[in-house]
Protein backbone atom coordinates (compact mmCIF):
# COMPACT_ATOMS: atom_id res chain seq x y z
CA UNK A 1 0.00 0.00 0.00
CA UNK A 2 1.28 3.41 -0.96
CA UNK A 3 1.36 6.32 1.48
CA UNK A 4 -2.01 7.87 2.37
CA UNK A 5 -2.52 10.91 0.14
CA UNK A 6 -4.78 13.84 0.83
CA UNK A 7 -5.84 17.43 0.26
CA UNK A 8 -5.20 20.36 2.57
CA UNK A 9 -7.39 23.25 1.43
CA UNK A 10 -6.19 26.49 3.00
CA UNK A 11 -9.17 28.79 2.51
CA UNK A 12 -7.23 31.90 3.54
CA UNK A 13 -5.42 31.65 0.20
CA UNK A 14 -8.49 31.00 -1.98
CA UNK A 15 -9.33 33.83 -4.39
CA UNK A 16 -12.49 32.21 -5.76
CA UNK A 17 -11.15 31.82 -9.31
CA UNK A 18 -12.78 28.38 -9.73
CA UNK A 19 -9.80 27.05 -11.66
CA UNK A 20 -10.18 23.90 -9.52
CA UNK A 21 -13.78 23.41 -10.65
CA UNK A 22 -12.84 23.85 -14.29
CA UNK A 23 -9.73 21.65 -14.14
CA UNK A 24 -11.74 18.89 -12.41
CA UNK A 25 -14.46 19.01 -15.05
CA UNK A 26 -11.94 18.97 -17.89
CA UNK A 27 -9.75 16.16 -16.62
CA UNK A 28 -12.54 13.89 -15.36
CA UNK A 29 -14.94 14.62 -18.23
CA UNK A 30 -17.66 15.63 -15.74
CA UNK A 31 -20.81 16.74 -17.58
CA UNK A 32 -22.11 20.29 -17.53
CA UNK A 33 -24.66 20.89 -14.78
CA UNK A 34 -25.61 24.42 -15.74
CA UNK A 35 -24.80 27.89 -14.46
CA UNK A 36 -27.55 29.04 -12.16
CA UNK A 37 -27.57 32.56 -10.76
CA UNK A 38 -28.73 31.85 -7.24
CA UNK A 39 -29.05 35.51 -6.12
CA UNK A 40 -27.37 34.74 -2.82
CA UNK A 41 -23.69 35.19 -3.66
CA UNK A 42 -21.14 34.84 -6.47
CA UNK A 43 -21.66 31.09 -6.20
CA UNK A 44 -23.29 29.85 -9.40
CA UNK A 45 -22.28 26.22 -8.81
CA UNK A 46 -24.32 25.59 -5.67
CA UNK A 47 -23.13 22.42 -4.01
CA UNK A 48 -21.10 19.27 -4.51
CA UNK A 49 -22.96 16.59 -6.48
CA UNK A 50 -22.73 13.94 -9.16
CA UNK A 51 -21.55 16.54 -11.69
CA UNK A 52 -19.67 18.86 -9.30
CA UNK A 53 -16.62 17.37 -7.58
CA UNK A 54 -15.05 20.69 -6.53
CA UNK A 55 -17.31 23.50 -5.35
CA UNK A 56 -16.10 26.99 -4.46
CA UNK A 57 -18.26 28.55 -1.75
CA UNK A 58 -18.52 32.35 -1.51
CA UNK A 59 -19.57 33.80 1.85
CA UNK A 60 -20.04 37.56 1.90
CA UNK A 61 -19.65 38.97 5.40
CA UNK A 62 -19.58 42.57 6.68
CA UNK A 63 -15.86 43.28 6.42
CA UNK A 64 -14.58 40.30 4.44
CA UNK A 65 -15.31 37.75 1.80
CA UNK A 66 -14.73 34.07 2.58
CA UNK A 67 -14.04 31.62 -0.23
CA UNK A 68 -13.48 27.91 0.07
CA UNK A 69 -13.12 25.07 -2.39
CA UNK A 70 -15.05 22.07 -1.05
CA UNK A 71 -14.39 18.48 -2.11
CA UNK A 72 -15.04 14.86 -1.06
CA UNK A 73 -13.41 14.24 2.34
CA UNK A 74 -12.15 10.70 1.56
CA UNK A 75 -12.98 9.72 5.17
CA UNK A 76 -11.00 7.17 7.18
CA UNK A 77 -14.37 5.61 8.10
CA UNK A 78 -16.36 6.27 4.92
CA UNK A 79 -20.12 5.76 5.25
CA UNK A 80 -20.64 5.66 1.47
CA UNK A 81 -18.17 2.79 1.16
CA UNK A 82 -19.55 0.96 4.22
CA UNK A 83 -23.16 0.95 3.00
CA UNK A 84 -22.50 0.27 -0.72
CA UNK A 85 -24.19 -3.13 -1.35
CA UNK A 86 -22.37 -3.98 -4.59
CA UNK A 87 -18.77 -3.22 -3.65
CA UNK A 88 -18.71 -0.51 -6.33
CA UNK A 89 -17.16 1.88 -3.80
CA UNK A 90 -13.69 0.79 -2.75
CA UNK A 91 -10.59 2.06 -0.97
CA UNK A 92 -7.56 2.59 -3.18
CA UNK A 93 -3.89 2.03 -2.43
CA UNK A 94 -3.70 5.79 -1.67
CA UNK A 95 -6.37 5.37 1.05
CA UNK A 96 -8.85 7.34 -1.04
CA UNK A 97 -12.47 6.31 -1.76
CA UNK A 98 -13.50 5.74 -5.38
CA UNK A 99 -16.66 4.52 -7.21
CA UNK A 100 -16.26 1.83 -9.89
CA UNK A 101 -18.83 3.08 -12.36
CA UNK A 102 -19.06 -0.28 -14.14
CA UNK A 103 -20.18 -1.99 -10.91
CA UNK A 104 -22.50 0.67 -9.44
CA UNK A 105 -26.15 -0.26 -10.03
CA UNK A 106 -27.52 3.07 -8.89
CA UNK A 107 -29.22 1.92 -5.69
CA UNK A 108 -28.59 5.38 -4.24
CA UNK A 109 -27.86 4.19 -0.70
CA UNK A 110 -24.54 6.07 -0.50
CA UNK A 111 -26.30 9.38 -1.15
CA UNK A 112 -28.10 9.88 2.20
CA UNK A 113 -25.35 7.95 4.01
CA UNK A 114 -22.66 10.60 3.42
CA UNK A 115 -22.55 12.95 6.44
CA UNK A 116 -21.15 15.74 4.19
CA UNK A 117 -23.68 15.50 1.33
CA UNK A 118 -20.96 14.85 -1.25
CA UNK A 119 -21.89 11.82 -3.36
CA UNK A 120 -24.98 11.90 -5.57
CA UNK A 121 -26.67 9.92 -8.31
CA UNK A 122 -26.47 11.26 -11.88
CA UNK A 123 -30.01 10.68 -13.12
CA UNK A 124 -28.85 10.76 -16.75
CA UNK A 125 -26.90 7.50 -16.40
CA UNK A 126 -28.34 6.23 -13.10
CA UNK A 127 -25.03 5.86 -11.27
CA UNK A 128 -23.38 7.46 -8.24
CA UNK A 129 -20.45 9.83 -8.84
CA UNK A 130 -18.00 11.84 -6.76
CA UNK A 131 -14.37 13.02 -6.55
CA UNK A 132 -11.82 10.26 -7.18
CA UNK A 133 -8.89 12.45 -6.05
CA UNK A 134 -7.91 11.90 -9.72
CA UNK A 135 -7.13 8.22 -9.14
CA UNK A 136 -5.79 7.89 -12.68
CA UNK A 137 -3.39 10.83 -12.25
CA UNK A 138 -2.23 9.53 -8.86
CA UNK A 139 -1.41 6.16 -10.40
CA UNK A 140 0.59 8.01 -13.02
CA UNK A 141 2.53 9.91 -10.36
CA UNK A 142 0.74 13.22 -10.99
CA UNK A 143 -1.13 15.43 -8.54
CA UNK A 144 -4.92 15.85 -8.87
CA UNK A 145 -6.11 18.32 -11.52
CA UNK A 146 -7.59 20.78 -9.00
CA UNK A 147 -4.39 21.06 -6.95
CA UNK A 148 -2.35 21.42 -10.15
CA UNK A 149 -4.57 24.22 -11.43
CA UNK A 150 -4.85 26.16 -8.16
CA UNK A 151 -2.88 29.39 -8.74
CA UNK A 152 -2.50 30.34 -5.05
CA UNK A 153 -1.66 26.96 -3.49
CA UNK A 154 -4.93 27.11 -1.57
CA UNK A 155 -5.40 23.48 -2.59
CA UNK A 156 -2.37 21.49 -1.48
CA UNK A 157 -1.91 17.81 -2.29
CA UNK A 158 0.51 15.38 -0.67
CA UNK A 159 1.05 12.67 1.94
CA UNK A 160 -1.62 13.25 4.61
CA UNK A 161 0.84 13.19 7.52
CA UNK A 162 2.97 15.91 5.90
CA UNK A 163 -0.09 18.01 5.18
CA UNK A 164 -1.23 17.78 8.81
CA UNK A 165 2.13 19.09 10.05
CA UNK A 166 2.13 21.85 7.45
CA UNK A 167 -1.43 22.85 8.40
CA UNK A 168 -0.59 23.05 12.13
CA UNK A 169 2.33 25.37 11.33
CA UNK A 170 0.11 27.52 9.12
CA UNK A 171 -2.52 27.91 11.87
CA UNK A 172 0.18 28.88 14.41
CA UNK A 173 1.53 31.53 12.02
CA UNK A 174 -1.95 32.94 11.35
CA UNK A 175 -2.68 33.07 15.09
CA UNK A 176 0.62 34.91 15.64
CA UNK A 177 -0.40 37.38 12.93
CA UNK A 178 -3.64 38.07 14.77
CA UNK A 179 -6.05 35.88 12.77
CA UNK A 180 -7.17 34.04 15.89
CA UNK A 181 -10.31 32.76 14.14
CA UNK A 182 -8.23 30.43 11.94
CA UNK A 183 -8.96 26.76 12.73
CA UNK A 184 -8.49 23.37 11.12
CA UNK A 185 -11.53 21.31 10.12
CA UNK A 186 -11.57 17.53 9.66
CA UNK A 187 -7.87 16.81 10.30
CA UNK A 188 -8.35 15.14 13.72
CA UNK A 189 -8.01 11.30 13.49
CA UNK A 190 -10.23 11.08 16.60
CA UNK A 191 -13.25 12.82 15.01
CA UNK A 192 -16.53 11.21 13.95
CA UNK A 193 -15.17 9.94 10.63
CA UNK A 194 -11.76 8.90 11.95
CA UNK A 195 -10.13 11.89 10.26
CA UNK A 196 -10.75 13.24 6.78
CA UNK A 197 -8.35 12.62 3.90
CA UNK A 198 -9.28 16.09 2.68
CA UNK A 199 -9.23 18.70 5.45
CA UNK A 200 -9.50 22.47 5.59
CA UNK A 201 -8.25 25.63 7.25
CA UNK A 202 -11.33 27.78 7.89
CA UNK A 203 -11.90 31.31 9.21
CA UNK A 204 -15.40 30.75 10.59
CA UNK A 205 -17.66 27.98 11.88
CA UNK A 206 -17.86 25.02 9.43
CA UNK A 207 -21.64 25.38 9.05
CA UNK A 208 -21.07 28.86 7.56
CA UNK A 209 -19.32 27.12 4.67
CA UNK A 210 -22.10 24.49 4.38
CA UNK A 211 -20.01 21.88 6.22
CA UNK A 212 -21.42 19.78 9.09
CA UNK A 213 -19.85 20.99 12.38
CA UNK A 214 -19.47 17.51 13.91
CA UNK A 215 -20.13 14.76 11.33
CA UNK A 216 -20.37 11.07 12.28
CA UNK A 217 -20.00 8.00 10.09
CA UNK A 218 -23.51 6.53 10.28
CA UNK A 219 -22.24 2.94 10.51
CA UNK A 220 -20.66 3.73 13.91
CA UNK A 221 -24.09 2.89 15.37
CA UNK A 222 -24.83 -0.10 13.11
CA UNK A 223 -24.33 -2.68 15.87
CA UNK A 224 -26.85 -0.91 18.05
CA UNK A 225 -29.30 -0.75 15.13
CA UNK A 226 -29.07 -4.49 14.44
CA UNK A 227 -29.51 -5.27 18.15
CA UNK A 228 -32.77 -3.30 18.28
CA UNK A 229 -33.90 -4.85 14.99
CA UNK A 230 -33.10 -8.29 16.43
CA UNK A 231 -35.21 -7.60 19.50
CA UNK A 232 -38.06 -6.44 17.24
CA UNK A 233 -37.68 -9.54 15.02
CA UNK A 234 -37.87 -11.91 18.00
CA UNK A 235 -40.75 -9.86 19.37
CA UNK A 236 -42.60 -10.22 16.07
CA UNK A 237 -42.24 -14.01 16.10
CA UNK A 238 -43.30 -14.18 19.75
CA UNK A 239 -46.27 -11.87 19.26
CA UNK A 240 -47.49 -13.87 16.25
CA UNK A 241 -47.16 -17.11 18.20
CA UNK A 242 -49.18 -15.57 21.04
CA UNK A 243 -51.97 -14.75 18.58
CA UNK A 244 -52.40 -18.47 17.91
CA UNK A 245 -52.04 -19.60 21.52
CA UNK A 246 -54.69 -17.34 23.02
CA UNK A 247 -57.66 -18.99 21.33
CA UNK A 248 -59.13 -22.52 21.27
Amino acid sequence: MAERMGFFTDTTLCIGCKACEVACKEWNDVPDDGFVFRATSYDNTGALGADTWRHVAFIEQDSRWLMSSDVCKHCTHAACLDVCPTGALFRTEFDTVVVQSDVCNGCGYCVPACPYGVIDRRERDGRAWKCTMCYDRLRGGLEPACAKACPTKSIQFGPLEELRVRAEERVERLHAEGMTEARLYGEDPDNGVGGAGAFFLLLDEPETYGLPPDPVVTTRDLGEMWRWAGVAAFGLAGALAACFLRRS
Partner: protein, 311 residues
Protein backbone atom coordinates in the same frame (compact mmCIF):
# COMPACT_ATOMS: atom_id res chain seq x y z
CA UNK B 1 -52.82 19.01 18.70
CA UNK B 2 -49.57 18.86 16.76
CA UNK B 3 -49.83 22.43 15.51
CA UNK B 4 -49.91 23.87 19.02
CA UNK B 5 -46.84 21.87 19.96
CA UNK B 6 -44.96 23.31 16.96
CA UNK B 7 -45.62 26.85 18.13
CA UNK B 8 -44.35 26.10 21.61
CA UNK B 9 -40.91 25.09 20.30
CA UNK B 10 -38.91 28.23 19.50
CA UNK B 11 -36.93 28.18 16.26
CA UNK B 12 -33.41 27.03 17.01
CA UNK B 13 -30.68 29.56 16.18
CA UNK B 14 -28.13 28.19 13.76
CA UNK B 15 -25.86 29.24 10.91
CA UNK B 16 -25.72 27.73 7.46
CA UNK B 17 -24.55 28.34 3.89
CA UNK B 18 -27.46 30.43 2.58
CA UNK B 19 -29.92 27.95 4.10
CA UNK B 20 -28.75 25.20 1.75
CA UNK B 21 -28.88 21.54 2.86
CA UNK B 22 -25.74 20.08 4.45
CA UNK B 23 -26.53 16.46 3.56
CA UNK B 24 -28.18 15.10 0.43
CA UNK B 25 -31.80 13.97 0.72
CA UNK B 26 -32.56 10.32 -0.07
CA UNK B 27 -33.13 10.04 -3.83
CA UNK B 28 -35.45 7.03 -3.63
CA UNK B 29 -38.54 7.49 -5.71
CA UNK B 30 -42.19 7.44 -4.73
CA UNK B 31 -44.14 5.22 -4.85
CA UNK B 32 -41.39 2.60 -5.36
CA UNK B 33 -39.48 2.74 -2.10
CA UNK B 34 -42.32 3.26 0.43
CA UNK B 35 -44.40 0.62 -1.37
CA UNK B 36 -41.49 -1.80 -1.20
CA UNK B 37 -41.10 -1.12 2.53
CA UNK B 38 -44.79 -1.99 2.97
CA UNK B 39 -44.71 -5.09 0.76
CA UNK B 40 -41.50 -6.39 2.32
CA UNK B 41 -42.99 -6.04 5.80
CA UNK B 42 -46.23 -7.67 4.64
CA UNK B 43 -44.37 -10.62 3.12
CA UNK B 44 -42.11 -11.04 6.14
CA UNK B 45 -44.84 -11.06 8.78
CA UNK B 46 -47.11 -13.21 6.58
CA UNK B 47 -44.44 -15.89 6.16
CA UNK B 48 -43.86 -15.97 9.92
CA UNK B 49 -47.62 -16.22 10.40
CA UNK B 50 -47.74 -19.10 7.89
CA UNK B 51 -45.03 -20.95 9.82
CA UNK B 52 -46.80 -20.51 13.15
CA UNK B 53 -50.13 -21.52 11.57
CA UNK B 54 -48.46 -24.69 10.25
CA UNK B 55 -47.22 -25.56 13.73
CA UNK B 56 -50.62 -24.90 15.33
CA UNK B 57 -52.52 -26.75 12.59
CA UNK B 58 -54.46 -23.76 11.20
CA UNK B 59 -54.26 -25.03 7.61
CA UNK B 60 -56.66 -22.55 5.99
CA UNK B 61 -54.93 -19.53 7.52
CA UNK B 62 -51.57 -21.05 6.64
CA UNK B 63 -52.66 -21.31 3.00
CA UNK B 64 -53.64 -17.64 2.79
CA UNK B 65 -50.50 -16.52 4.58
CA UNK B 66 -48.22 -18.48 2.27
CA UNK B 67 -49.78 -16.87 -0.79
CA UNK B 68 -49.62 -13.39 0.77
CA UNK B 69 -45.96 -13.92 1.70
CA UNK B 70 -45.12 -14.91 -1.86
CA UNK B 71 -47.14 -12.17 -3.53
CA UNK B 72 -45.78 -9.46 -1.22
CA UNK B 73 -42.17 -10.52 -1.66
CA UNK B 74 -42.39 -10.80 -5.44
CA UNK B 75 -44.18 -7.50 -5.94
CA UNK B 76 -41.80 -5.84 -3.48
CA UNK B 77 -38.75 -7.11 -5.33
CA UNK B 78 -40.16 -5.73 -8.59
CA UNK B 79 -40.56 -2.28 -7.04
CA UNK B 80 -37.02 -2.46 -5.66
CA UNK B 81 -35.49 -3.34 -9.03
CA UNK B 82 -37.46 -0.55 -10.74
CA UNK B 83 -36.06 1.84 -8.14
CA UNK B 84 -32.43 1.25 -9.17
CA UNK B 85 -30.63 3.77 -11.36
CA UNK B 86 -29.45 0.82 -13.47
CA UNK B 87 -32.17 -1.86 -13.11
CA UNK B 88 -30.35 -4.17 -15.58
CA UNK B 89 -27.57 -4.47 -13.01
CA UNK B 90 -29.81 -5.63 -10.14
CA UNK B 91 -27.88 -8.90 -9.84
CA UNK B 92 -24.85 -6.85 -8.68
CA UNK B 93 -26.69 -6.75 -5.35
CA UNK B 94 -25.63 -10.39 -4.91
CA UNK B 95 -22.07 -9.76 -6.11
CA UNK B 96 -20.81 -9.47 -2.50
CA UNK B 97 -22.17 -10.01 1.01
CA UNK B 98 -21.36 -7.03 3.21
CA UNK B 99 -22.43 -6.94 6.84
CA UNK B 100 -21.60 -3.21 6.94
CA UNK B 101 -24.34 -2.57 4.37
CA UNK B 102 -27.95 -3.12 5.49
CA UNK B 103 -28.90 -3.04 1.82
CA UNK B 104 -26.58 -5.95 1.09
CA UNK B 105 -27.94 -7.92 4.06
CA UNK B 106 -31.45 -6.98 2.93
CA UNK B 107 -30.84 -8.06 -0.67
CA UNK B 108 -29.72 -11.52 0.43
CA UNK B 109 -32.63 -11.72 2.86
CA UNK B 110 -35.06 -10.74 0.10
CA UNK B 111 -33.51 -13.30 -2.26
CA UNK B 112 -33.91 -16.05 0.35
CA UNK B 113 -37.41 -14.86 1.27
CA UNK B 114 -38.45 -14.74 -2.40
CA UNK B 115 -37.17 -18.23 -3.15
CA UNK B 116 -38.56 -19.86 -0.01
CA UNK B 117 -42.00 -18.26 -0.25
CA UNK B 118 -42.21 -19.15 -3.96
CA UNK B 119 -41.59 -22.83 -3.14
CA UNK B 120 -44.02 -22.67 -0.21
CA UNK B 121 -46.77 -21.04 -2.28
CA UNK B 122 -46.25 -23.30 -5.32
CA UNK B 123 -46.49 -26.39 -3.15
CA UNK B 124 -49.58 -25.10 -1.34
CA UNK B 125 -51.39 -24.35 -4.60
CA UNK B 126 -50.43 -27.47 -6.56
CA UNK B 127 -50.11 -29.95 -3.72
CA UNK B 128 -46.79 -31.12 -5.20
CA UNK B 129 -43.90 -31.96 -2.85
CA UNK B 130 -45.73 -31.06 0.37
CA UNK B 131 -42.74 -31.81 2.61
CA UNK B 132 -40.46 -29.53 0.59
CA UNK B 133 -43.15 -26.86 0.62
CA UNK B 134 -43.55 -27.15 4.40
CA UNK B 135 -39.80 -26.98 4.98
CA UNK B 136 -39.48 -23.90 2.77
CA UNK B 137 -42.44 -22.26 4.46
CA UNK B 138 -41.04 -22.90 7.94
CA UNK B 139 -37.64 -21.50 6.87
CA UNK B 140 -39.33 -18.41 5.46
CA UNK B 141 -40.83 -17.94 8.91
CA UNK B 142 -37.30 -17.15 10.08
CA UNK B 143 -36.25 -14.97 7.12
CA UNK B 144 -39.62 -13.25 7.47
CA UNK B 145 -38.81 -11.76 10.88
CA UNK B 146 -35.66 -10.20 9.37
CA UNK B 147 -37.57 -9.11 6.27
CA UNK B 148 -40.05 -7.18 8.44
CA UNK B 149 -37.37 -5.38 10.46
CA UNK B 150 -34.21 -4.90 8.36
CA UNK B 151 -35.76 -1.98 6.50
CA UNK B 152 -35.68 -0.03 9.77
CA UNK B 153 -31.90 -0.52 9.90
CA UNK B 154 -31.73 0.39 6.19
CA UNK B 155 -33.21 3.83 6.89
CA UNK B 156 -31.51 4.39 10.26
CA UNK B 157 -28.07 3.68 8.78
CA UNK B 158 -27.98 7.04 6.98
CA UNK B 159 -27.00 10.58 7.96
CA UNK B 160 -30.69 11.62 7.84
CA UNK B 161 -31.26 12.91 11.40
CA UNK B 162 -34.91 11.86 11.83
CA UNK B 163 -34.04 8.29 10.75
CA UNK B 164 -30.65 7.88 12.39
CA UNK B 165 -31.83 9.18 15.76
CA UNK B 166 -34.99 7.06 15.52
CA UNK B 167 -32.91 3.89 15.23
CA UNK B 168 -34.25 2.29 18.43
CA UNK B 169 -37.95 2.69 17.66
CA UNK B 170 -38.02 2.28 13.85
CA UNK B 171 -37.68 -1.55 14.01
CA UNK B 172 -40.68 -1.77 16.35
CA UNK B 173 -42.69 0.68 14.24
CA UNK B 174 -42.02 -1.42 11.13
CA UNK B 175 -42.47 -4.79 12.87
CA UNK B 176 -45.80 -3.68 14.35
CA UNK B 177 -46.90 -2.27 11.03
CA UNK B 178 -45.86 -5.47 9.21
CA UNK B 179 -47.78 -7.60 11.71
CA UNK B 180 -50.92 -5.48 11.29
CA UNK B 181 -50.51 -5.58 7.48
CA UNK B 182 -50.19 -9.37 7.40
CA UNK B 183 -53.06 -9.81 9.86
CA UNK B 184 -55.25 -7.46 7.85
CA UNK B 185 -54.49 -9.11 4.52
CA UNK B 186 -54.97 -12.62 5.99
CA UNK B 187 -58.28 -11.51 7.47
CA UNK B 188 -59.43 -10.34 4.03
CA UNK B 189 -58.50 -13.66 2.37
CA UNK B 190 -59.52 -16.22 5.00
CA UNK B 191 -63.05 -17.32 6.01
CA UNK B 192 -64.02 -15.53 9.22
CA UNK B 193 -64.36 -18.73 11.23
CA UNK B 194 -60.68 -19.55 10.61
CA UNK B 195 -59.28 -15.99 10.78
CA UNK B 196 -59.23 -15.51 14.57
CA UNK B 197 -55.42 -15.43 14.91
CA UNK B 198 -55.20 -13.01 11.96
CA UNK B 199 -57.57 -10.64 13.74
CA UNK B 200 -55.50 -10.92 16.90
CA UNK B 201 -52.35 -10.14 14.91
CA UNK B 202 -54.04 -7.08 13.46
CA UNK B 203 -55.02 -5.77 16.92
CA UNK B 204 -51.60 -6.43 18.43
CA UNK B 205 -49.64 -5.13 15.41
CA UNK B 206 -51.66 -1.92 15.26
CA UNK B 207 -51.09 -1.38 18.99
CA UNK B 208 -47.31 -1.89 18.67
CA UNK B 209 -47.11 0.39 15.62
CA UNK B 210 -49.05 3.14 17.39
CA UNK B 211 -47.00 2.89 20.60
CA UNK B 212 -43.63 2.74 18.81
CA UNK B 213 -44.52 5.79 16.71
CA UNK B 214 -45.52 7.81 19.79
CA UNK B 215 -42.37 6.86 21.71
CA UNK B 216 -40.16 7.62 18.70
CA UNK B 217 -41.61 11.10 18.23
CA UNK B 218 -41.26 11.93 21.89
CA UNK B 219 -37.63 10.78 22.04
CA UNK B 220 -36.68 12.60 18.82
CA UNK B 221 -37.60 15.97 20.36
CA UNK B 222 -36.97 18.86 17.95
CA UNK B 223 -35.91 16.40 15.23
CA UNK B 224 -39.47 14.99 15.07
CA UNK B 225 -40.90 18.25 13.62
CA UNK B 226 -41.28 16.82 10.08
CA UNK B 227 -43.66 14.19 11.49
CA UNK B 228 -45.98 17.00 12.63
CA UNK B 229 -46.08 19.40 9.70
CA UNK B 230 -46.54 19.47 5.95
CA UNK B 231 -47.09 16.42 3.80
CA UNK B 232 -45.31 14.01 6.16
CA UNK B 233 -47.38 15.31 9.07
CA UNK B 234 -50.63 14.77 7.16
CA UNK B 235 -49.58 11.25 6.18
CA UNK B 236 -48.57 10.45 9.75
CA UNK B 237 -51.88 11.68 11.14
CA UNK B 238 -53.76 9.64 8.52
CA UNK B 239 -51.67 6.62 9.43
CA UNK B 240 -52.47 7.05 13.14
CA UNK B 241 -56.23 7.24 12.54
CA UNK B 242 -56.32 4.35 10.03
CA UNK B 243 -54.05 2.07 12.06
CA UNK B 244 -55.69 2.68 15.43
CA UNK B 245 -59.18 2.55 13.91
CA UNK B 246 -58.45 -0.58 11.89
CA UNK B 247 -56.84 -2.24 14.89
CA UNK B 248 -59.81 -1.53 17.15
CA UNK B 249 -62.24 -2.71 14.47
CA UNK B 250 -60.30 -5.96 14.11
CA UNK B 251 -61.25 -6.85 17.67
CA UNK B 252 -64.90 -7.07 16.60
CA UNK B 253 -64.39 -7.89 12.92
CA UNK B 254 -65.28 -11.54 13.46
CA UNK B 255 -68.93 -10.54 13.55
CA UNK B 256 -69.40 -9.54 9.93
CA UNK B 257 -67.83 -9.47 6.51
CA UNK B 258 -68.28 -5.70 6.30
CA UNK B 259 -66.36 -5.12 9.52
CA UNK B 260 -63.63 -7.49 8.35
CA UNK B 261 -63.27 -5.64 5.06
CA UNK B 262 -63.28 -2.23 6.74
CA UNK B 263 -60.67 -3.25 9.31
CA UNK B 264 -58.37 -5.02 6.85
CA UNK B 265 -58.42 -2.15 4.38
CA UNK B 266 -57.90 0.44 7.13
CA UNK B 267 -54.76 -1.19 8.56
CA UNK B 268 -53.40 -1.72 5.03
CA UNK B 269 -53.92 1.94 4.18
CA UNK B 270 -52.44 2.89 7.57
CA UNK B 271 -49.31 0.79 6.97
CA UNK B 272 -48.84 2.38 3.53
CA UNK B 273 -49.30 5.86 5.00
CA UNK B 274 -46.67 5.07 7.66
CA UNK B 275 -44.06 4.19 5.02
CA UNK B 276 -44.84 7.24 2.85
CA UNK B 277 -44.75 9.46 5.96
CA UNK B 278 -41.38 8.11 7.12
CA UNK B 279 -39.86 8.54 3.65
CA UNK B 280 -41.19 12.09 3.24
CA UNK B 281 -40.13 13.07 6.77
CA UNK B 282 -36.63 11.82 5.94
CA UNK B 283 -36.50 14.06 2.90
CA UNK B 284 -37.57 17.11 4.90
CA UNK B 285 -35.14 16.24 7.70
CA UNK B 286 -32.25 16.09 5.22
CA UNK B 287 -33.10 19.21 3.23
CA UNK B 288 -33.44 21.61 6.20
CA UNK B 289 -29.90 22.25 7.51
CA UNK B 290 -31.34 22.97 10.96
CA UNK B 291 -31.76 19.29 11.76
CA UNK B 292 -28.16 18.51 10.80
CA UNK B 293 -26.42 21.56 12.24
CA UNK B 294 -28.21 22.20 15.56
CA UNK B 295 -27.62 18.80 17.27
CA UNK B 296 -24.00 18.73 16.06
CA UNK B 297 -23.37 22.28 17.25
CA UNK B 298 -24.93 21.44 20.64
CA UNK B 299 -22.57 18.47 20.91
CA UNK B 300 -19.55 20.66 20.22
CA UNK B 301 -20.67 23.44 22.56
CA UNK B 302 -21.16 20.88 25.33
CA UNK B 303 -17.59 19.65 24.79
CA UNK B 304 -18.72 16.19 23.62
CA UNK B 305 -17.55 15.97 20.00
CA UNK B 306 -18.30 12.78 18.08
CA UNK B 307 -15.70 10.04 17.86
CA UNK B 308 -15.51 6.48 16.54
CA UNK B 309 -14.06 4.40 19.37
CA UNK B 310 -12.73 0.95 18.67
CA UNK B 311 -12.18 1.28 14.91
Amino acid sequence: MPRRRDEMVPDAEFRSYYGQPVIKPPIWHEPHMPTYLYLGGLSGAASTMAAVARLSGDRRLEFSSRLIAFAGGTAGAAFLVAELGRPERFLNMLRVFKTSSPMSVGSWTLAAQGGLTAVGAASAVTGVLPLVGDAASLASGVTGTLMATYTAVLLADTAVPIWHEGRRELPFLFAGSAMASAGGMAMLTTPRAQAGPARAATVLGAAVETAAGAIMERRLGMLSEPYHSGKAGRLMRASRVLTAGGGLLAAVAGRSRALTALSGLAVTAGALCTRFAVLEAGRVSAVDPKYTVVPQRERLDAGRPASVPGR
